[in-house]
């Protein structure tokens, strides 16, 4: 029903006509301002993925994401309903024991105190779904979906990790095809998970991605593979590749920050993904390389990580709220855990 919002939020608009600010290199991220919204840009997200463990020792994967998009509207429209900002939120819970993925979503145009993304510091909410940064520096999120609910506090243990060149992260062959991007890896999680009416305490580790852009994907891009991995030794790795329509890699990148804080940034040629296992979604018919081998060329040679999913069926069909179909799953690797995101497998993504 709502294919249009995806179209709207992700519609390819000729850059010349774009009233949006262009993402350029040479900025310095400032906090807490950059935790807050950047409403002038076309797209923005607050993206938390992580692993939880219940008191009984069960592993759960979770995702809480708030998206913000700025549709093209007539700025003269004085109506309080004018869709100057539209907010989306997704939440998912992967239960390894049952092999089931619960997910829920919210959409709203900002306004009337029912939905808004604050500037100055992180605070995004759609009715009773919320993600914000508390004055003590912790992040807190609360979602209440059909069948499950999450109330989590996320405490940073490391400073933010600016991606690309100090936060300017290229996504395509043209320099404006880029985003401002930082991550906060190794967030210590504590909180409560409610499933089927039963609430239990959980602890775990998460990864926050913050990204805002006006021109994220090149027209020739099909989608991307992305992973964020928290290693047990305190190091963190992010890698992505933008896939070209018809096959091949259009762009790639990423970074590794070691426990001592030293950082290696990957050039497009340094990163490669190789499928190890394919899973076909019975719901959408899309096929996903849910297990992959990630190869990264570092100064000391090529390092390889095998990304193995918690379980295969971690696809999210969020077309109901106007977003695309994608796969977002908890994965394990040697000495670490994280999330793998696969987009553009059901249909080419435009952003």
């Amino acid at each position: 029903m709502l294919r249009w919002i995806a179209g709207l939020a992700l519609a390819a608009v000729a850059p010349a006509a774009t009233p949006y600010p262009v993402v350029r290199p040479g900025i310095t991220l400032r906090f807490p301002q950059d935790h807050g919204a950047h409403p002038a840009f076309r797209t923005e997200w607050w993206y938390v993925t992580g692993w939880l463990r219940t008191a009984r020792g069960d592993d759960l994967g979770f995702q809480v994401t708030f998206f913000r998009t700025r549709p093209q509207t007539d700025p003269r429209n004085p109506s309080r309903f004018a869709p100057t900002q539209v907010l989306f939120a997704h939440a998912a819970l992967s239960d390894a024991k049952t092999g089931r993925l619960f997910h829920g979503e919210r959409v709203a145009r900002a306004g009337f105190g029912l939905a808004q993304a604050r500037e100055g510091d992180a605070d995004v909410a759609i009715r009773d779904w919320r993600m914000r940064r508390l004055p003590d520096g912790r992040w807190a999120t609360q979602v209440n979906a059909d069948g499950f609910a999450l109330t989590l506090a996320l405490s940073p243990t490391q400073p933010p990790l600016p991606q690309g060149q100090g936060g300017y992260s290229r996504k395509g062959p043209r320099p404006e095809e880029a985003s401002y991007y930082y991550s906060i890896p190794h967030l210590r999680v504590s909180g409560r998970v409610t499933r089927a009416g039963t609430t239990e305490p959980v602890t775990g580790e998460a990864w926050l991605d913050r990204e805002w852009s006006s021109d994220y994907l090149a027209p020739e891009a099909q989608g991307w593979d992305w992973t964020g991995l928290n290693f047990d030794d305190g190091s963190a790795l992010m890698a992505f590749r933008i896939r070209r329509k018809g096959g091949g890699t259009l762009w790639a990148g990423g970074a590794l920050r070691r426990a001592d804080g030293t950082r290696s940034v990957f050039a497009p040629g340094d990163v490669s993904f190789r499928p190890l296992a394919i899973w076909r979604s019975p719901a959408t018919g899309a096929t996903y390389p849910v297990a992959q081998q990630l190869s990264v060329r570092l100064a000391d040679g090529i390092h390889r990580w095998r990304l193995q999913p918690l379980f295969a069926a971690q696809e999210l069909d969020t077309r109901g709220s106007g977003m695309p179909v994608y796969w977002e799953g908890a994965v394990r690797t040697q000495g670490g855990r994280g999330y793998l995101e696969l987009t553009g497998y059901a249909k080419a993504l435009a952003m």
Binding site: W4, L8, A11, Q72, S79, F81
Partner: protein
Amino acid sequence: MAAEPDLWSGRLALGWLIGGEWRFHPGRFVLTAVAIAVGVALGFAVHLINGSALASFDGAVRGVGGGAELSVRAASPLGFDEALYPRVARAAGVRDASPVVKLDARIGSARLTLLGLDVIRAAAVTPALVGIAPERGNDAMFAEDAVFLSRAALAQTGAKIGAHVAVTANGRSVPLRVAGTLPGAGDTAVLGVIDIAAAQWRFGRLGTLDRIDLAVSDRAAAESALRGLPGATLSAAEAQNAQGDVLSRAYRVNLDMLALVALLTGGFLVYSAQSLSVARRQRAFALLRTLGMPRGGVVAAVAVEGLAIGVVGAGAGLVTGYVMAWAALRWFGGDLGAGYFGGGVVRLAFQPGAALGFFALGLAAAALGSAIPARLAARAAPAAALKNAGDVLDPRARVAWWPAAVLLVVGGAVALLPPVGGLPLFGFAGMALLLAGGVAGVPWFARVLLTPLARRSGGAVPRRLAIRHLHGAPNDAATALCGIVASTALMIAMATMITSFRGAVDDWLGQVLGADLYLRTSAGAVFDPATQARLSATPGVARAAFSRQLPLTIVPDRPPITLIARPERGAHDPLLVLIAPAVPLPTGARPVWVSEPAQRLYGWNPGDSVTLPIGGGARFTVAGVWRDYGRQTGAVLVDAHDYQRLTGDTGRDELAAMLRPGADTGAVTAAIQARLPADLRDQVEITRPATLRRFALTLFDRSFAVTYLLEAIAILVGLAGVAATISAQTMAREREFGMLRHLGLTRRQLTAMLATEGALVGLTGALAGIALGLVLAQVLIHVINPQSFNFTMSTRIPFGTLAAVAAALSGAAAATAILAGRRATARGAVQSVREDW
């Protein structure tokens, strides 16, 4: 019983009897079957049309409502403050809330409902209202210039996807692009959907909403949390559908009743035809019985004939009714011109239950019409019947008057009972009893009327013969009279009611249209204060009264009443004609004058305190009741200053101007036209009272057009019955005519005798019918009309119609008698006497 041969053994004789009757008198069978067919067809057609119209109305309401089970609706088109939206969205039990701006709009001359929606919320709450763009033009959803049209809206506007159209609403015309369709809105809703922000901005509705559709997680909690919202009511989807039902139910039931009248008349026709056929075959039956056919055989013969007539007639009636309904929907629309369902598209929906019901009714009418004569025939002693084919009633015996009197009294009493569920069911029952009483009293009435005539000696031979015949054979006459009396009475009753109603409306129009010029805006345009001042100052205008008219929802499941705001305080308004005297108001009370239907519907009596949902719920005191035939759902009049203080609405949509003496209406009209702002000029209609009056009466006549038609058909069926009865009776008296010729009567004299007889029967029927009709009219005027439409009126008798009916009936009866008599006396007198059965 064992001694009597069984029915089965007589089947051969029975077959001959029925078969022979059909072979030799096919015309009568066809005629009676047609009478039943007409009744069934009318009833079925009316029922189908009503059912289809209501289904489409429901469909349109559902289409515009988008399937939300619960909605917060503005009490009036002024809407409510959008600040209510977050409050409603956060209320307990509410899962999601979709705010809606609703406008009455037009594209060209096509009217449609324009909804401004937040498509994100609508997708969750009312997905049926989310538009689909044909190609990848998906960003159209938030586009300020995109409109999505339902199928009916596309058809009525003739617009194509991608076309640019000018949409006019709330007095503004906005160019929009047809971006796609609304496949979920159904086939009947004439609907357009645009973005809510664009609707607020481009159509001047900033800060205002008209509706909030709800998806609820806990309906009871939501209902209790959302009670008493300022300027809005919580209403369920069922309540919206109920509005259409309530609005038109009385009208639909009345039409159904009229259609049944035609069927009833058909039943009488069967009765008279079968009575005559039985009387004529009395000797045949008697012979068969003496030859050994059981008593039941006679009853069976007549009953089988009746059933055959019923099956053929009712079957033909169903087919005809379906075709009629289809044609009527095609050419007149679903409300048959009465204007109840707006301009919606109506599709014919076949209703098997109704078809079965009307078939059964047709069959029952035919069977009952045959059963009574069959029993009479069976009762006759075979030996006596063999000798005498004539009337079995002794003219010297007194005719009982009390069964008729009892029926009439009971009928009158039943009619006075209160309505059931807003329907005058007891009124109709009372009418049926009165009708039965009237028909039962016909033999007595005929005797009373003819006895003084019969006692008089002297006068022309044909006249005396005619009177003697009627007086001596009252049963024959009564049979013919039943149909006449029934159909005449019903027709006179309807004619009297309509004359009274129309006369009352005409008088009322004369009172309320007291100004010299009227200006009315369309498509929500208003006269702003500056325009009002400019128009008031037009040279030649002595007094300009601006008013505002708004629909106002009082109860969610009833159609809205009309709120009229007009300067009333301090100035005596000659146009406000009160039927209930004004009461002195307590000081500081805000007056409201309620219309008669509003008083009857909501029980608002002078002195009562009333809360109206304007300005967040304001208290008024009823200062008087005024007559209003224009707004069946009720209307209230408040002072313009009170209204403005409560709502802040300074716009007015109507102007009644009194001109200075000697002012030229044409010149003033032109001057007013010139003073209108340019953007308002083509949205204002200037009319003179005469035009309005003509228009109102045309509307009135149109809404009664179907009534007239049904009535005319009932009369025709009645006249056909008279003709059939009289001609059959006349043909049966061939031997009597032969005898009279032998006694020296000329054919001319015979013809005169028959004409007199016919005229007398017709006149008697007409007189009885008119008397009974006037009684029935009182039930219609004082019971059925007020209970159905909440209008009261005084009786006006259509003397012209009465005279015409009496003349037409006696004329038709006489003419039929003469024509039949010509044939009956055509053969030689000798042959006639010789003729043996």
